[in-house]
């Protein structure tokens, strides 16, 4: 039982990263119809930024947790104005390709400057202990990640449902033409929303820095799993992306713990789940059916 709870807890922690990344992808997709391939690269930049801030300017983790998402959000807004904006009127595939190219560039820029060796980043001292849950104790940092990620997801949910900005974004996501017809200027929200999504990826990156190897390729394979997560959750769905993120984290942790005799299954379980979902509900668990094609 203790083992099961521990595995569940760890699954939720892994899921927290998927959820934050998928949430950012979903918000961006909703507003811009852009699937941001570079999302993994921005996650990497978040972690790397935290490392650079610490080693070259002595900026601690807590400050990086604010600086990096904001900084990367601004960078994202600049990129949106400079590149992505030019292609939004075209088929979304062009922006997918553009962000793919950007991924290669961002990865190599970091590689050129800092090499491929993983960079060191220590857990912040306030969270380096463990939390005692009675029947088992657990690293404090993991508890923090889970709580923090849940708070961010709930916060985003609150903004989207309870504020005027959120209403506009949701309306634009779900009925773009209708929203425009009501005379709401959707365009002015596009750039900030893109920046916000990138900021979430950066936030996930900073959170990952003390736990994961910080290197230029850390987001490269991860992004594919996150793509599977958003396909499972339903690409346009904010709630779906978060739920699928945590769900996939759980499924992977359980698979690793209880199906370790079948490594093929535990490796590919995400994609198996995706195949089943596509058979059963092509638009994803929480997605709306797209126009018939």
């Amino acid at each position: 039982m203790t083992g099961f709870l521990q595995n569940t807890f760890n699954g939720l922690v892994s899921g927290a990263f998927y959820a934050l990344l998928a949430l950012g992808l979903a918000v961006i997709f909703g507003m811009l119809r852009v699937v941001n391939f570079a999302h993994g690269a921005f996650y990497m930049l978040g972690a790397f930024g935290a490392y650079v801030l610490l080693t070259e300017a002595g900026v601690p983790f807590w400050a990086a947790l604010v600086i990096m998402p904001v900084g990367l959000g601004l960078l994202g807004m600049a990129l949106e104005r400079a590149f992505i904006h030019r292609l939004t009127r075209l088929d979304p595939l062009y922006n997918f390709l553009l962000t793919f190219g950007l991924t290669l560039i961002l990865q190599d820029l970091v590689k050129l400057r800092y090499g491929v060796q993983s960079s060191p980043y220590a857990t912040p001292s306030a969270l380096s202990g463990t939390v005692d849950f009675g029947i088992f104790d657990f690293p404090a940092y993991r508890v923090f990640i889970l709580g923090f990620a849940l708070a961010v997801c709930v916060g985003v949910w609150w903004v989207l449902t309870r504020t005027r900005i959120g209403m506009v974004v949701r309306a634009a996501t779900e009925r773009p033409e209708l929203t425009r017809a009501f005379g709401i200027d959707v365009g002015r929200w596009v750039t900030p929303v893109f920046g916000f999504g990138i900021g979430l990826a950066g936030l996930a990156g900073v959170l990952a820095a003390p736990m994961r190897a910080v290197n230029p390729l850390m987001g490269a394979d991860l992004i594919i799993v996150v793509f599977a997560v958003v396909v499972i959750g339903g690409l346009g769905s904010i709630f779906g992306s978060v739920a699928a993120g945590f769900g996939i984290g759980l499924v992977q942790a359980w698979g690793e713990a209880y199906l370790s005799a079948f490594p093929i299954v535990s490796q590919t379980i995400v994609f198996i789940v995706m195949a089943v979902v596509l058979l059963w509900r092509p638009a994803g668990l929480f997605g709306r059916e797209e126009a018939p094609a």
Binding site: R89, L90, D91, Y94, L104, K111, F227, Q267
Partner: protein
């Protein structure tokens, strides 16, 4: 859903046709001249280039044409075609090693295996279009990658399948120079098949589906089945390329299944020109030569160059090399006529 070939900028102008159509509309002698030049270059290639590089160009040309068949003519961007290229490479390698058959037979077996794999993946993927299709194919290809990685007793895992023979009725093909000429007919057949598919009534229906799926459906075409057929044919041609690649390198590694291989195929097509078919061949030449040159140049950031070129192409030259050249030629012709 607009297709990736028609940009609004294009739509605003009086229908600028794709490069392929341009060539088809060009006077007969232009078409024959282009064909002759193409064949002459293909025959000369290993005399001007290092033969192994020339072999790679041929394999990638097939791969690119396969991806363009979907992307340019069906409007489906597969970001997971490494699954077919790689599966065929493995099957070809296994057949060649264990059965000792002539390599063209092994390559055919590999390509058929790729086509068989394309059926279930295609069946699931064509339920979605556009960007979803790209993500779904990407994810399934990654799944195939993991399976090959784990199925070590067959694929030899990280060490790869070593020693794929180049058996062809006892001919000595160890020299890449002669091997190039041995595979050239197969590659030309593959390219000709792609050309036939595009020109056939079936190909025209695909373009119709690409441009207006709702209308195609209203006209009674089983859209999903058409897309699936295109997907399987594309998988087969990609498989031909992958099988030849395996024999060419005399071994198969997991890299043939990795998503970066899929990404490279898309880069090749976009660079050459989406929806131009022969642009992919051109793109293959450019990318393979560029990578070959970069890896000896001592410049570390290969991704910076390929990524940079790719971003520029997507932003500024969406028609790619072939498409831009064709559009230019067409404009010239129109000007002269006026």
């Amino acid at each position: 859903m607009t297709s990736i070939v028609d940009t609004p900028a294009d739509a605003a102008r009086p229908a600028v046709p794709s490069g392929l159509v341009t060539v088809a509309r060009a006077p007969g002698w232009v078409r024959y001249a282009l064909l002759a030049v193409g064949l002459a270059v293909a025959l000369w290639l290993p005399n001007g280039l290092y033969a192994a590089v020339a072999v790679d160009i041929l394999c990638w040309a097939l791969f690119a044409v396969a991806v363009d068949l979907l992307l340019g003519f069906t409007g489906l961007m597969s970001f997971g075609h490494a699954a077919f290229w790689g599966t065929s490479a493995y099957v070809t390698g296994l057949v060649a090693i264990h059965a000792g058959l002539p390599f063209p037979v092994a390559v055919l077996a590999g390509a058929l295996a790729a086509a068989v794999l394309a059926v279930p993946i295609g069946y699931l993927a064509v339920k979605r279009t556009g960007i979803y299709f790209a993500m779904v194919t990407l994810a399934f290809a990654q799944m195939v990658y993991y399976v090959a990685n784990e199925w070590r007793s067959v694929t030899r895992g990280e060490n790869g399948l070593q020693g794929v023979p180049r058996e062809l009725f006892g001919l000595d093909l160890t020299d890449d120079y002669y091997f190039y000429y041995a595979i050239l007919p197969i590659v030309l057949l593959g390219l000709a098949a792609a050309w036939r598919i595009v020109q056939s009534p079936f190909g025209r229906v695909l373009v119709g589906i690409r441009d207006n799926p709702a209308r195609a459906r209203a006209l009674g075409y089983p859209v999903h089945r058409y897309k699936l057929t295109a997907f399987v044919l594309s998988g087969f041609i990609a498989g031909l390329g992958g099988g030849l690649f395996a024999v060419g390198h005399r071994f198969v590694s997991l890299d043939v299944l990795h998503w970066t291989t899929s990404g490279k195929a898309v880069i090749v097509v976009v660079l050459g020109g989406i929806g131009t078919l022969w642009g992919g061949v051109l793109g293959a030449g450019v990318v393979v030569l560029l990578e070959d040159w970069l890896s000896f140049s001592g410049f570390e950031a290969i991704g910076l160059v390929t990524g940079g070129i790719f971003v520029l192409v997507v932003l500024l030259f969406r028609r790619g090399i072939w498409g831009s050249a064709a559009a230019l030629a067409l404009r010239r012709m129109a000007a002269r006529r006026r």
